[in-house]
């Protein structure tokens, strides 16, 4: 804990030294995926060089090593999010897989007419699994509207929430708008009517401290690759009693206790929800990502991000004809914007030519784009390894792009 120093942090991320189109890379697409510190990259290499073996199976040395490392990673994640038990932490493929697991397993316990509540700012991955469930089970999907400034309509939420609501599945931080939703309040209210809550933390786990016991969410989902870990690994947290009571999602190896053609019994937590050989190296490297985060002055890192977000918004307001998509009072360092009539694709292409990576398009939130009546946005999403100098260069590159296109 020697205080947060962004230059020291940048040295941990080898890719930040890359050049793109002859310019030093400025990576402002952290909402899509984060870059990886060498601690994570080396952990993967070390696993395949020294420990590779299948988990929970062999009696031999390597299998023991791999199993220990895999279970250690589970403990690391559990500690980071302050889960009460490490069995509450399930390794999945990512946020999408985590949400689909809940949609299936909770879905099996629902009846026609039961309601699922989501919001108008959800990512497609927190919309489509529920629509599929509703088609399968006759449940009803309700949607909390989004206000023009990009916050949840809390009055409408109060009206929509009822004893018919069985599950509230809600995004913590909007990937498109950067809005931080008042989830503690939502969770509390949902519990008052007996609904369970799934929190989509894909965009919050890397920006805010997450304490599942304090939040009191019933489920939490996020992806490893957005929190400095590898792709193809994610987490589903669920309260132990709840997970115990649910049927498994997929069948296969590892998730069973006894298999016979007459009757198969399932394994206990967490393996009940981890059918088949898991992404062992991914899980271990995700553990390394959280160990890396824990080694930092995290409060300092998050404070730096907050400073960056404020500075970005202030600098961007100087640009004539700029329009922020999402002006919530509580936002993270993610900013969606449009400039005059310019197409996001054109801006993104010219920024890329100047070495700057941003995301353009609908960000997998088409209903939200429809509400704002826009085809897409340009999105700059920052991480704690970004700098104010990069923001200055970004603004210069953006002004140059606008000049070319106007």
């Amino acid at each position: 804990m020697s205080g947060f120093n962004v230059n020291e942090i940048r040295a941990d991320f080898p890719i930040l030294k890359e050049s793109v189109n002859g310019k030093p890379l400025i990576y402002f697409d952290n909402g899509a995926t984060s870059q990886k510190p060498r601690q994570v990259i080396e952990r993967i290499s070390n696993y395949y060089t020294h420990e590779n073996s299948n988990v929970h199976r062999g009696v031999h040395y390597l299998s023991d090593q791999a199993t220990n490392a895999y279970e250690q990673a589970r403990n690391t994640v559990a500690r980071y999010i302050n889960a009460a038990h490490s069995q509450e932490v399930i390794f999945t493929k990512g946020t999408t897989d985590s949400i689909n697991t809940v949609a299936f397993s909770v879905g099996e316990t629902l009846k026609p007419g039961d309601e699922i509540l989501i919001s108008g700012m959800e990512h497609h991955s927190n919309i489509v699994p529920w629509q599929m469930l509703c088609e399968r089970k006759g449940t009803i999907l309700k949607v909390i509207p989004v206000t023009p400034e990009g916050t949840l309509d809390l009055e409408a939420f109060d009206t929509l929430l009822s004893e018919r609501t069985k599950l509230l599945s809600i995004i913590h931080i909007s990937n498109t708008l950067g809005t931080i939703n008042p989830v503690e309040q939502l969770i509390q209210k949902a519990h008052q009517v007996g609904a369970k809550v799934l929190l989509d933390a894909a965009q919050s786990i890397q920006h805010l401290p997450i304490d599942v016991q304090h939040l009191d969410c019933d489920f939490l989902a996020f992806s490893g690759h957005k929190v400095f870990g590898p792709t193809g690994i994610g987490i589903l947290y669920g309260k132990k009693d709840l997970l115990d009571s649910l049927p498994p999602y997929q069948g296969g190896g590892d998730m069973i206790e006894q298999v016979s053609f007459e009757k198969t019994t399932y394994n206990g937590l967490p393996l009940k929800f981890e059918a088949g050989t898991p992404n062992i190296s991914g899980a271990i490297a995700l553990g390394a990502a959280f160990n890396y985060l824990s080694s930092l002055d995290l409060q300092g890192a998050f404070q730096h991000e907050h400073t960056l977000g404020t500075y970005l918004r202030a600098r961007m307001r100087e640009i004539p004809t700029i329009r922020f998509i999402g002006e919530a009072p509580e936002t993270c360092s993610t900013l969606s914007f449009l400039i005059g009539e310019l197409h996001p694709f054109d801006l993104g292409t010219l920024l890329d030519k100047q070495g700057i990576a941003v995301r353009t398009g609908h960000h997998c939130t088409q209903p939200l784009m429809k509400q704002f009546n826009i085809p897409g946005t340009v999105r700059a999403s920052l991480a704690f390894y970004n700098t104010t100098e990069e923001i200055d260069q970004f603004v210069v590159a953006l002004e140059r792009s606008i000049h070319l296109l106007s």
Binding site: N21, L342, H343, P344, F345, D346, T349, L350, K353, T360, G361, P375, G376, L404, L405
Partner: protein, 140 residues
């Protein structure tokens, strides 16, 4: 006699060789893109729309004296600029020549990134559409 597809491609490659850096190149593409719509608004119908992920592209074609004539448009200026180059190459050619053409100029002028599937800007879809319109004429 009108120019062949490859003659036009070589012409474009020569024009682009004059540009020193990406700025000049894109300025030129953007200028092409800012020109008047290349397709009548009434023809911007759903069946003429090529669904790219980000920018929308419309393409129409009609046979005129054994040659296929293309018009097209896009809501993104850079896509539109590249489209106008494509139209310059492929429009007013015979369906046979269009179908068997090999579009090497895009790579040669350094725009190959616009053909990558991740750009998803409708350009690949547009080339496929131009060629399939040619093929339709051949098989009808």
């Amino acid at each position: 006699m009108s120019k062949s597809i490859n003659q036009i491609q070589d012409e474009i490659i020569e024009e682009f060789a004059m540009f020193d850096d990406w700025m000049e190149k894109y300025e030129y593409i953007i200028d092409l893109g800012k020109e008047l719509p290349l397709i009548a608004d009434v023809k911007k119908t759903e069946d003429r729309l090529i669904h790219g992920c980000q920018s929308r592209v419309w393409v129409a074609s009609e046979m005129l004296d054994k040659h296929l004539v293309f018009t097209a448009d896009s809501d993104a200026i850079i896509t539109k600029g590249i489209i106008s180059l494509l139209i310059r190459v492929l429009s007013n050619q015979t369906p046979e020549d269009i179908v068997k053409s090999e579009l090497y100029f895009i790579g040669k002028i350094g725009l190959q990134e616009h053909l990558s599937p991740t750009r998803a800007n409708g350009l690949v879809g547009m080339i496929n559409r131009l060629k399939s319109d040619g093929l339709k004429q051949l098989t009808s």
